[in-house]
Homo-oligomer: 142 residues x 2
DNA sequence: CCTGAAAATGAAAATCGTTTTCAATATGCC
DNA sequence: GGCATATTGAAAACGATTTTCATTTTCAGG
């Protein structure tokens, strides 16, 4: 994904935000890491690309990217906020291993829950689904 | 649910835990409040039942209840941990209003995602599903 | 290219929810 | 009742995240 990052930077620029080396680094870090990474991991990766990037900037940049629709927050139930590139399109969920904590992407999404919500007078505009269990490597504990 | 709380207290007692006025208050607060309440709300309600209950005790009691399978943690994506009575049986999800933050219970759960996980070498033992949108009272913003 | 207004950065301090420490208190088996 | 042990509460510690503020950087305009 070489041009993809540049496209996103252009998108930021057209939105009136400024493109800095730090933001480029965070964006590249996100592009290279898998999905649902925590801020610490993103910071570490970004630092390898551009050493001059502080943790605070990573937090701020991630929020800016979410605001621009370029990245999204992922809530998995542990104490840290995670982020990944992509939005509605490319919508997917996660398989979270209860043993090793690994997270893998699940691209399927068969959910006709809009109807369920509507039955309650509720308009469903998004949903969050996490499947918990044990990954192939860990196996189910005795 | 008068006897329900007592049953749960008995369950605690048989598990070697001690039953105190504070725990009774927290349990009653949970029984009277709706689902997915945050610790502050539970604390406030518990205090109305027994003024002598500290926030720390609420945290500890809630974890004890989770450990005993009497209560469960609910993760909705905001910054606070929520709790509610009940476990696997009585399994349900939530309709979370993006406007007012209200949470209502959704008792349906048609999810045949075990298969999806298995296809990835993953054994799904639980899942978490939250539907986000707008409740009847708020309506969808323009 | 310069220039300056506005945005972005970083380090330190502030927040905020939650957890731990520790001395004092309460529970419940004997 | 008495004692071993669990529980409590206040204060301090914690860890993730946010804010403050002085300094640096971007980039639109001349």
């Amino acid at each position: 994904m070489p041009g993809r990052v540049d496209d996103m930077l252009d998108q930021l620029r057209s939105a009136g935000r400024r493109v800095t080396a730090q933001r480029r680094a965070v964006l590249q870090a996100l592009a290279r890491l898998g999905c649902a990474q925590d801020v610490e991991a993103i910071h570490a990766r970004a630092r390898r690309i551009h050493p001059r990037v502080g943790l605070v900037t990573v937090y701020r940049t991630l929020e800016a990217l979410v605001g621009e629709g370029v990245a999204q927050r992922v809530v998995l139930g542990d104490d840290r906020t995670r982020y990944e590139l992509g939005q509605e399109h490319g919508h997917h969920h996660h398989l979270v291993c209860l043993s090793c904590g690994s997270v893998q992407r699940l691209d399927e999404c068969h959910l006709e829950s809009k109807r369920a919500g509507r039955r309650h007078g509720f308009t469903v505009t998004a949903h969050r689904l996490e499947l918990l269990g044990y990954c192939a490597k860990c196996g189910v504990p005795a």
